[in-house]
Amino acid sequence: MSLRPLTAPWFHGPAGHEKIWLGCAILWCFVMSLMMPYWHFRGKQNSTGEAYTVKPVDFLARTEKFVAANRVGTYTNPGNNPLMGDLPLVEPPAGGDAYLIGRMWQWYPALRLRLGETYRLHLSALDLQHGFSLQPLNMNFHVLPGYDHVLTITPTSKGEFTIVCNEFCGIGHSGMSGKIFVE
């Protein structure tokens, strides 16, 4: 049967318990099929992949321009992470564009955002692939060199948030860090 060729006719439709289970399974698969499109239109958290091609050197220049125009201070690393160094603290205009670079091994610059405002956060990498991972919210997005990954994002909670890197990017990977402050 399971190991011998079938010579007698074997083709017939489902019946009984297997038919009931098929019905349940199909119904559940249908419900799941509706969830993603539903959330795409009515849900608040989506990953649409909005992106543009960019040269790393151009993205760096644009980020430095953003830092120069909007800098409000310096974030001093408390000191337990030797790879971090100090970061410029930058506040983008409410409802405006913010630029964030992932590079070995920091997220540059540190950002200060306002609660309830919507920003277009541009993410890109200068060298390798990086993983933007915002803690403790645990929001995760992939960041590639050559791509400007745009997140239209609205902070709805206040506090100090740390950006961890969760895509392997060399020996300093687990210490790669960044900051977002929401006030």
Partner: protein
């Protein structure tokens, strides 16, 4: 040699490994690979105003 009764059309599909091979290559390659590749190729350059 064999006196085969009429097979259900779906059984003919199930009994045809070559058809399954062709479909099994074509459908994922078109839906995942080719479509995804086109999406990447159509990515516009950044404005960076």
């Amino acid at each position: 040699m064999k006196n085969e009764p009429d097979k259900h059309p779906w059984q003919k599909v199930l009994d045809n490994p070559w058809l399954l091979l062709v479909l099994g290559v074509l459908i994922p390659v078109l839906s995942y690979t080719v479509w995804g590749w086109i999406e990447l190729l159509l990515t516009k350059p950044a404005l960076l105003p």
